[in-house]
Symmetry: C2
Subunit: 341 residues, 2 copies
DNA sequence: TGCTATTATGGGAGCGGTTGCAGAGACTTT
DNA sequence: AAAGTCTCTGCAACCGCTCCCATAATAGCA
């Protein structure tokens, strides 16, 4: 079943080298010869042996997708499935394959070594790596091309693809202000996470733009969990000056918790207070009321990451790529369906 | 960086063959020699080149994971993420890697070819393949070992891992009957899906066990969607004899729809009618009231599939494996927290 | 003690590709 | 017409590993 170059060569009456040139679309092959070889290859259902090619050429057409340990809990939302679809789709389109590696603490070191040293992959896509992830260091040292999903603030040698958290948050808050809300609070993500910090910056930028003084008590730090959102909203509610008339919550998960806190004290959304989220998880549309939020192009994030990485592999030594993808405001009724004022 | 066998051989003062034996844990190597080689290998941070090994030995230690097109919508629940985790975890433990292939219509044929002919993978895990999936045929013809996730009714040459749908349904319904419910209806999955048919069989078996005559009007076919569950429950409600006092719904998604239908007509769960689901999706615990359901060992499903496949690869020619994993009844308040009668 | 197992090791031929190099024609150039 | 280019092709040397086979050393046995 497994046809080899040699067989095709014999069958087409040429040398192995020539067949190889044809298969790899290299120049200096006679048109007629090329056609003949292609015909034979097709009829014999030829498929290059990846191991052999990899050994000889040093590249495998395989990208590694590393999802480090600990984020597995995030699997509860369809982020990773969508990301994976985007990645595999882009890889398929360019004749590449995807090697999956879901990190586990105990095997981490071992797997990293296998991944890097084995020469199995041409490059690595790092999905939500932690800032101090040891794999990052290893990748850099090894000189293996890689892109991160999620902006990485500390290293200037890394390439990344991310959504434009700052501008997205900016737009969302600007929308609230345009709609007439006066005192807009925010429940942030962890400050030490880039996404959390960027979204806060966007919030601040929107206030600045309208020359609104920032009231620090209206900024409460959350942790991207439902429970964290719940507690943060309680803190806002306990403010002597009140929670304001709108809250920009930096994730849908936290918005869920915030909504619960509001319901408990009998506040209605959006009549008493408006609420907006970030992520557009599936449940956002089914909340009561449906949540205004920011939709991330997760599928595209994956696709662009793969395309970028393939690009990087074929042009080694180029400077790091940094790509920010735009998001989409999804206006639902949690912030009032009409301008407020 | 990339150490080779040869280098280790030189460094340890032995031949390449001997080093290879040591690395692969083969017999006929002197204890002392073995120790010395291992030491050198360790200190040189040796990692075998997978491509070379694969080329020479004909196996790659890579398993393919195929998730055919169309099921991507199912990505909305954490089934696949969990499955993937189980698979990768088992593979890691046995020094295997996972090649991911998420099917897309247009690339399907091409990818199948690459997958099968490239010699890239030792075997394939087929996640929820359709009964007539062309890849199934291709795998059989090629003689490549594979296991399916989900029982396959038609072919006797295929290996599969599945949850024991029949017995799980049986247990669930038996539980309802023991709790004192008299007229237990069921909303089934599509009859032409194995899981749907098996769960119905389990329902029937439980009735038979208690010598309860089966009332065909209490069996309504759904389609595993929320909307399908909603409509099925409406049909039950419109029955002249009433919907019975409990409903075994064959999936949590449909149970969600059924609950909606009940709420619309003002029926209370479990006081007016009890409801049970199947799958234990995350939202089941947060429904109002929390849903009694059947928890599937999805992670284990993946792990066992990988382990079985690795087993099969190393013992070619053995007969197909069929494994059914037990489930767990998760009793919540949707069927009454105490026996009913 | 001689002769056959057994164990430990090295040699070398692949596995199926890629690629540098050389050579054969055909085609320009002066 | 001789020399220089260019295009097309084949040869052969790898890539790093596995595994069969030969050989040497040691052990087992009559």
């Amino acid at each position: 079943m497994a046809t080899t170059l040699e067989e095709i060569a014999k069958s087409a009456g040429v040398s192995r080298s020539t067949v190889s040139r044809v298969i790899n679309d290299q120049p200096n092959v006679d048109q007629e010869t090329r056609a003949r070889v292609l015909l034979v290859a097709e009829s014999l259902n030829y498929q290059p042996n990846i191991a052999a090619r990899s050994l000889a050429a040093g590249r495998t057409q395989i990208l590694g997708l590393a999802i480090p340990a600990g984020v597995s809990t995030l699997f509860a939302d369809p982020y990773f499935p969508l990301l994976i679809q985007g990645i595999t789709s882009a890889c398929n389109a360019q004749d590449h394959s995807v090697m999956l590696w879901v990190g586990e603490p105990e095997y981490e070191r071992r797997t990293i070594r296998r991944l890097l040293a084995g020469g199995l992959v041409d490059g690595v896509i790092l999905a939500s790596a932690l800032v101090d992830d040891p794999i990052l260091e290893a990748l850099l040292k090894r000189g293996l091309p890689f892109v991160m999903i999620g902006r990485h603030a500390t290293s200037d040698r890394t390439s990344y693809i991310d959504v434009d958290n700052l501008n997205s948050a900016h737009e969302m808050v600007a929308y609230l202000l345009r709609a007439g809300y006066k005192r807009v609070a925010t429940i942030t993500g962890p400050r030490n996470m880039v996404a959390g910090a960027d979204r806060l910056q966007g919030y601040l930028a929107a206030l600045r733009e309208r020359k609104i003084a920032c009231d620090p008590s209206l900024i409460v730090e959350g942790d991207f969990t439902e429970e964290g959102g719940y507690r943060a909203m309680q803190r806002l509610l306990s403010l002597p000056t009140g929670p304001g008339d709108a809250v920009f919550v930096a994730s849908d998960g936290m918005a869920l918790g915030a909504m619960r806190a509001l319901r408990e004290v009998g506040k209605r959304v959006p009549d008493d207070i408006a609420l907006t989220g970030f992520d557009d998880l599936p449940f956002a549309a089914h909340m009561d009321p449906p949540l205004t939020t920011v939709r991330q192009p997760v599928y595209r994030l994956g696709a662009v990451a793969a395309e970028t990485l393939i690009e990087m592999v074929s042009h080694p030594g180029a400077s790091p790529r940094r790509i920010l993808l735009p998001t989409e405001l999804v206006i639902r009724s949690s912030c009032g369906s009409l301008p407020h004022r």
